[in-house]
Symmetry: C2
Subunit: 136 residues, 2 copies
DNA sequence: GTTGTCGCTAACCAAAAGTAAGTACGCACC
DNA sequence: GGTGCGTACTTACTTTTGGTTAGCGACAAC
């Protein structure tokens, strides 16, 4: 497997390697979480659960995303091993994105959360309406 | 209530009331999602699954959060009906935060995602290492 | 008095996201 | 043969947001 430097004085990093700890400030799991739960990351993962999509398909499906953020978020997810990119060297460019097995797993977790919010929106809006709303 | 027609462009708000649609740009569910999946929102929800906490308890538990972001994120979650705030008029101020039933539900969804990431961190880091930085 | 605790807030600043344009290439049209 | 379109981006620039730091008010301990 892979060797990782282990500080002798503590096992924090080693523990982080064995299993992430989101409450630890240094743990790389925080970065992964930020990618996955980023504004567009969630929506892209859910969209890609529906199967392979082209760049412009995703752009149309995920309403309101800019091309810049679409490209960037896809690159994050690709780097984390959640998304696979396949480019065809044709002349109107064609690139396909699909979830890896790992990506499908997070995708389902994220979808569960997204679904819950969609279903419970009325209850949430009701709770909101019932109090003073300090919004930002 | 009344049934909504299939074309998304005609009944966006009505559909959002019946059940949120995260792919719709205007849908308020997006805002909720952003609060819940915000950098600190996730960690606070998971932390509060462990029971009632005081402000400073949360500050200590969620490593790295600033007081401003702690207060702000708690206000978001409170406004969305996920967190309940109870202030005691004593003189070293004392404020307790706990999850509402609604908050406990999202909390569990979020926890499932967080757990998955913590458990699968090694696999993710391996996938990352495999494409970005080759090892020695 | 001076310091420390606690839950916040206002002022300020850096990072993220949005906007708009540019790039490369071929194709259809006029 | 120039104009414009469509694709998948990138780059430069602006705006929005997130985040850090400092401080407040009231009291308790030193």
């Amino acid at each position: 497997m892979h060797e990782v430097a282990e500080p002798p004085e503590s096992g924090i990093l080693a523990a982080a390697m064995a299993r992430g700890d989101l409450f630890a400030e240094q743990c790389p799991s925080r970065e992964i979480l930020n990618h996955v739960t980023s504004r567009w990351g969630v929506l892209l993962l859910v969209a890609l659960l529906g199967g392979t999509h082209r760049f412009s398909d995703l752009r149309r499906k995920v309403n309101g995303i800019s091309e810049k953020m679409l490209a960037q978020t896809l690159q994050w997810l690709e780097a984390d091993g959640f998304v696979e990119r396949q480019a065809y060297p044709v002349i109107p460019p064609k690139v396909e994105y699909r979830l890896t097995p790992l990506g499908e797993e997070v995708g389902r977790k994220v979808e569960a959360l997204a679904d819950w919010i969609e279903v419970n929106l009325p209850a949430i809006l009701a709770a909101r309406a019932g109090r003073t709303t300090p919004e930002e």
